[in-house]
């Protein structure tokens, strides 16, 4: 079977700044695989190892971020594909899903797509559902456990981990799955494997390869303003006396201000 894992590059932390054109400036912050996507990579590799076939790492982004794609290859992925084009710059989540859907259709033989529940920078969680609907495939989101992937019956059974319940869902393949953090423990690639993939550059498909124009990606929700979050009003340090005195003063404040 052919499994595709969609992976996004994000800054390691969100201490980002703002450019004059409202784009995000993450200069000087290390770029990493979106944490939830790393769990999707591990899950994809585990099922690929069980059933064989092919595991493709697919990413939309700059051609400069081959290092993390190589890391996924060193973890055990067999193939990689980078979607990169000036027309894709600044695309929103729904647009990104349209681009990736076009690539999946072009690949043609995909049985299962895995990705993280959301990216840690944009945080909308819309990518997996939008991708599934673009492809006309079923989706299982917020998966905390994949119980079974059966290539013979072309089905997948997975547990969705929602706020208060675990929902077990079965779906025909092909399908799109989004995963949460505690689904597995991503492996560390060995030094030998890192060396073996060190020179691999992923093939790059652009807008023309996918038959997509900038007009196809015009967002229906257009960013109009963006600003750093206002800082919280300055708080108050409770000082003076020993721990017991400070605790009394704290509880006084909480009761006085009807916090509790």
């Amino acid at each position: 079977m052919h499994i595709v894992v969609c992976m996004k590059q994000v800054p390691r932390d969100n201490s980002v700044k703002l450019n004059a054109d409202l784009s995000i400036n993450a200069d000087g912050i290390e770029k990493i695989i979106n944490l939830f996507d790393e769990y999707a990579v591990e899950e994809g590799i585990a099922w690929y190892e069980k059933h064989g076939g092919k595991l493709t790492i697919l990413s939309l982004g700059s051609t400069e971020w081959t290092e993390q794609i190589r890391r996924a290859l060193a973890m055990g992925a067999t193939d990689s594909l980078l979607l990169s084009d000036p027309a894709f710059a600044g695309v929103d989540t729904l647009g990104a899903a349209r681009v990736v859907a076009a690539a999946i259709r072009k690949l043609g033989d995909v049985d299962l797509i895995l990705t993280g529940r959301n990216s840690t920078d944009d945080e909308s969680g819309a990518f997996a559902p939008a991708l599934a609907r673009n492809l006309g495939w079923p989706q299982i989101t917020y998966v905390g456990k994949v119980q079974d992937v059966n290539p013979a019956t072309k089905t997948i059974v997975a547990d969705r981990s929602l706020e208060a319940v675990i929902e077990t869902v079965s779906s025909p393949l092909p399908a799109v799955i989004s995963v949460i953090k505690d689904i597995n423990s991503p492996r560390y690639p060995s030094l030998l494997k890192i060396k073996r993939v060190a020179k691999i550059d992923p093939p790059v498909w652009g807008a023309a390869d996918l038959g997509i124009s900038a007009a196809d990606l015009a967002p229906a929700a257009v960013l109009s303003t963006r600003a750093p979050a206002p800082s919280r009003p300055k708080g108050e340090m409770i000082t003076g006396g020993d721990a017991a005195a400070k605790v009394s003063a704290l509880v006084d404040k909480l009761l006085e201000n009807q916090v509790i």
Binding site: D13, N14, V16, I24, L35, T93, L94, A97, D122, E123, S124, G125, A126, P129, A130, A132, R133, N134, P138, Q139, T141, Y142, V157, R160, L162, E163, A164, V165, I166, E167, T168, V169, S171, P172, K181, D182, A218, A220, A221, V222, L223, S224, T225, A227, P228, A229, S231, R232, G235, E236, M237, A243, K246, V247, L250, V251, K253, N257, V259, I260
Partner: protein, 326 residues
């Protein structure tokens, strides 16, 4: 396209708090748009949810009732919603931002070629222009999106963003039944099990969280649940101690865990890494207890106490028990 359509979530047979918020906000948005406030009820037995939605301000309630809609499936619920959207033609669709609603909202927006703002904290209409505000980058950036004219806007709102609509007894409105189109529901929900030791942090009014400053797992379990109990709170944890294996992931607050916004958040022995602050900085009040006076957590704290949590927390629990008489 005109007016607002609110997705009705239910809790114990009545409209959920988030729905009351959306009906309250939806009323003023619908008025600003010069259209009706409609509500959408999907399920297998709507009961009196439609009447309840009317009591909280809906003019028309569209009900899609079908045995196939007993539990949530993306295919079933999106098909039902699309049938209603075809009829009501709303300019703006409002729903909550729970995991289920994010699954639903993003799928619906894609099918409708609509604009989407997930996890919004505000939505407004000015001169006919619909805009939504949503945080990103762990709450460090606040983004405003303007929806393109002629395309539906789908806004999934974070809890406690708006005042709840007040109930108007005897208010009348229209209830319209809409048939579920013959659509294939491809996924099958085979079981729904409540999470054991359920910690619905996102619903808790007060959260007590523990971090590495507690020293070890034993101290966490000795001090955090007892303080939480004294406050009637749920208990959470920093990523550091979840990764250490002290506490299950369910309890993790932060960018890669839960985003919470309680009335009171008590951070105990948590230094306040960016990724933790991302999950709790919108809490109404924050109490921070940490032995390092320079810990970043104090920068967001409403009240800060410098001290060893292992000394401070037993005293705090004792005082709260005595003074709150729990």
């Amino acid at each position: 396209m005109s007016g607002v359509l609110v997705y009705v979530e239910q809790v114990g047979g009545d409209v959920a708090a988030i729905t009351r918020e959306l009906l309250g906000k939806g009323r003023s948005l619908a008025d600003a748009l010069g259209g009706p406030l409609a509500a959408l009820v999907i399920g297998d037995a709507a009961g009196n949810l439609a009447e309840r939605a009317i009591a909280f301000g809906a003019d028309t309630v569209y009900v899609v009732s079908n045995p196939a809609l007993a539990g949530y499936t993306t295919d079933g619920y999106v098909a039902a919603a699309k049938a209603v959207v075809d009829q009501a033609k709303p300019a703006l669709i409002l729903a909550g931002a729970s995991f289920q609603m994010r699954d639903f909202g993003a799928a619906l927006a894609t099918d409708l070629d609509a604009g989407l703002a997930a996890d919004a904290i505000d939505v407004s209409v000015e001169g006919g222009q619909i805009s939504a505000v949503r945080p990103s980058h762990g709450g460090n950036m606040i983004n405003t999106y303007a929806f393109a004219a002629g395309r539906t806007a789908v806004v999934l709102a974070r809890k406690q963003s708006f005042a709840e609509a007040s109930e108007q007894a005897g208010r009348s409105g229209k209830v319209e039944a809409v048939a579920l189109p013959a659509a294939a529901i491809r996924t099958q929900v085979t079981s729904v099990v409540p999470k054991s030791g359920a910690v619905n942090l996102t619903d808790a009014a007060i959260i007590v969280s523990g971090g590495r400053g507690l020293g070890n797992k034993d101290n966490y379990y000795k001090l955090i649940p007892t303080l939480a109990e004294a406050l009637g709170a749920a208990y959470g944890a920093s990523r550091a101690v979840v990764d250490e294996g002290w506490v299950p992931y369910e309890h993790q607050v932060g960018q890669t865990g839960k985003t919470v916004s309680p009335k009171l958040y008590v951070a105990c022995g948590i230094s306040g890494a960016i990724q933790h602050l991302a999950g709790m900085r919108t809490s109404r009040s924050i109490v921070a207890i940490n032995k390092d006076p320079d810990a970043p957590i104090f920068r967001v704290a409403t009240y800060g106490v410098v001290g060893d949590v292992n000394e401070v927390l037993p005293l705090l629990t004792e005082q709260l028990k005595a003074r709150l008489s729990r």
